[in-house]
């Protein structure tokens, strides 16, 4: 311990996991470009991205199933880059679970402790605890094949958690479950994270899953981290067009910056200093407000445009309105109360408005 380091403040504590400059190549194919990543103790981190983006490779590098081509993986300040998974303080919940079909639930859960040659009473007691944590107390002697998908998922969770890993890794933990079960398991995972106080990292391609579970979000694409941060920030202020599109619906607004102002192709002009020339902004559909009465014009804090309703879709809990701006551009607005939507019929002329701070600049679109 270094006593001279100023006490207090998150910044003073070293991160539990630090991945620095890690790359992974398979022959000529690059799976991961240099990755830098920090995860602090107690967080629930989601690695989100489309299939083939390298997220599972990254998880396997953290678990020790693959060695990076370059770079370093540190856990709790210790370099574990060259250690195999059996020697790392991590445990994994596999996609498809990887339960041992020839063992009972209790034998599966107790496997790691029995490999570590813990005494029998300790194993029995910790298995019981782990099963209680995942609410499978009554299933200890069942065979794996006699369990439902959701129950198998919990066994896999208990089998990893019983090892008290510094980091629990979950590979697409909910992908195999149906919608209802998935929602129930999300609640369970949040509870288990809270009760164990552990550090969880999971990989998913499902943005709603990432948002409902994680307090720390890492978006990956084509072997790179596109953006990392608090989920709400990532959603509201995407750095790139990819992130903006991957984590939700978005309106893409190309424009040109001249001096301190930006002119958008759809006809709005607002103050925004920065790099001159072509640029692109994104705007979330729910940031748009619709108004049947008010006339157009620039408001001090935002923009208002006259437009025509092209299509209106009621989607259960919300309404989605497609708007046509005179010059061929379209915008999509989302209204959280579908009853508001009923007021807008195709062909109506309405005013759409948004606050300028709702716009995020993502640079020149490729």
């Amino acid at each position: 311990m270094n006593i001279d380091v100023p006490a207090g403040g998150e910044a003073a504590k070293p991160p539990l996991l630090r991945v620095s400059g890690v790359t992974k190549r398979y022959g000529a194919a690059v799976a991961l470009h240099p990755i830098d990543l920090e995860v602090r103790q107690g967080s629930f981190t989601a690695i989100l991205g489309p299939s083939g983006c390298g997220k599972s490779t990254l998880l396997r590098l953290i678990a020790g199933f693959a060695e990076p081509s370059t770079g370093k993986v540190e856990i709790g300040g210790r370099d574990v880059t060259r250690l195999g998974p059996e020697n790392r303080p991590t445990n994994m919940v596999f996609q498809g679970y990887g339960l041992f079909p020839h063992m009972s639930v209790a034998e599966n859960v107790g496997f790691g402790l029995s490999i570590a040659r813990r005494p029998r009473p300790e194993i029995d007691q910790r298995v019981a605890e782990a099963l209680r944590l995942v609410r499978l107390e009554d299933f200890a002697s069942r065979r794996i094949s006699a369990l439902s998908g959701g129950q198998q998922q919990r066994v896999a969770l208990a089998r990893a958690l019983i090892m008290r890993p510094l980091i629990l890794l979950l590979d697409e933990p909910l992908a195999a479950l149906d919608l209802k079960l998935r929602q129930a398991m999300q609640t369970e995972l949040r509870r288990i994270h809270r009760e164990t106080g552990g550090t969880f990292i999971f990989v998913t391609h499902d943005q709603s899953e990432a948002f409902s579970l994680a307090d720390n979000l890492i978006v990956m694409n084509e072997g790179r981290i596109e953006q990392a941060g608090v989920p709400q920030d990532v959603y509201m202020r995407p750095n790139t067009l990819f992130v903006s599109q991957f984590v939700g619906d978005t309106n893409i607004l190309p424009g040109i910056r001249r001096g301190d102002h930006v002119e958008l192709a759809l006809g709005a002009r607002f103050s925004s200093p920065g790099r001159q020339g072509q640029t692109t902004f994104v705007l979330r559909p729910e940031a748009l407000r619709l108004d049947a009465a008010t006339p157009a014009g620039s408001a001090p804090e935002g923009t208002a445009l006259r437009c025509t309703v092209e299509e209106m879709l009621l989607l259960g809990g919300e309404a989605r309105v497609t708007l046509s701006i005179g010059n061929g551009e379209t915008l999509v607005a989302r209204l959280s109360d579908p009853r508001d939507g009923e007021a807008f019929r195709p062909g109506m002329t309405v005013t759409v408005r948004w606050a300028d701070k709702a716009l995020s600049e993502v640079g020149v679109a490729a």
Partner: protein, 281 residues
């Protein structure tokens, strides 16, 4: 076809195959079983119900019976062990070459029963390739004679013939072992050895026992291999079943020897099954 009841369609589809099975297998085996209780008087078969043929099998051929079972057990154990190593290597340790090793197995499987025995004779005999190579290399001065005409030669040749029959069922059992169960074991701290013993082997027990059964039965019933390679110490019961049938014309004893062989083999296999797969579900 149209409108025929399902049960009738199935019955008709099964009829040819099971007709042949019944007429050329169940009936003749049953007849052979009946013959095993007959007796022979001055080269004529006398129907009856006498246990004499079995008595002769176990008294006169008792020691040979035991040594045949020992050879079969040695061959089966060798095949299962080596077959497991090969199948495991092909399944988990060969990457994309795994299929190539299985192809090599298939080629060996279909590559001629007599040809293999002949080849082993050519390899092991006094003026065979092994000896001529050893002499040519200057490792020995005179041909080594103990390569052939003994129990070891029979075991090696039978193991070579039966190895594909062990590899294939074990490989097919290993294909059903999910890769992630191996990763999970490793993730939970298991060494490669612990993973093998506690995760891989228990998941392919049935394949191992099937491989043992096939190899044991085939080895126990073989007579061509010992005839060519066995010499004095490598004789097996099959050779005498043949001679009881052909030269001595004592069908009851030949039949009794056949059924004793199959019966004892079945007991051995059942014991192995119980010991390895055990009583639980």
């Amino acid at each position: 076809m149209t409108g025929w009841p399902r049960a009738l369609r199935r019955g008709l589809a099964l009829f040819p195959a099971f007709g042949i099975l019944t007429g050329l297998f169940f009936v003749p085996i049953a007849l052979l079983f009946a013959v095993s209780f007959w007796s022979v008087k001055s080269y004529r078969l006398v129907p009856g119900f006498s246990p004499d043929a079995y008595a002769r099998t176990f008294s006169f051929y008792g020691p040979l019976f035991i040594s045949t079972m020992l050879i079969a057990a040695a061959v089966a154990l060798l095949c299962v062990t080596v077959g497991f190593v090969f199948a495991y290597g092909a399944r988990f340790r060969s990457g994309r070459y795994g299929d190539l090793f299985i192809l090599a197995t298939m080629i060996t499987l279909f590559g001629g029963y007599l040809v293999k025995i002949y080849s082993w004779k050519a390899i092991l005999s006094a003026n065979g390739i092994l000896n001529s190579a050893l002499i040519w290399l200057g490792l020995v001065d005179a041909p080594v004679t103990w390569f052939i005409f003994n129990r070891g030669a029979v075991i090696v040749a039978l193991a070579h013939f039966l190895l594909p029959f062990a590899i294939l069922p074990i490989y097919s059992a290993l294909r059903n072992v999910p890769d992630i169960t191996l990763e999970a074991a490793r993730d939970l701290g298991a060494s490669p050895w612990a993973t093998l013993v506690r995760v891989v082997l228990p998941q392919c027990k049935a394949g191992l026992v099937a491989a043992f059964a096939i190899c044991f039965l085939s080895a126990a019933g073989d007579y061509v291999t010992p005839m060519f390679l066995g010499g004095g110490s490598g004789i097996m019961l099959g050779q005498f079943i043949v001679s009881e049938f052909s030269t001595r014309f004592n069908w009851p004893v030949g039949a009794a020897m056949s059924f004793s062989l199959m019966g004892v083999s079945a007991l051995v296999i059942a014991a192995v099954w119980l010991a390895i797969v055990g009583r639980r579900g």
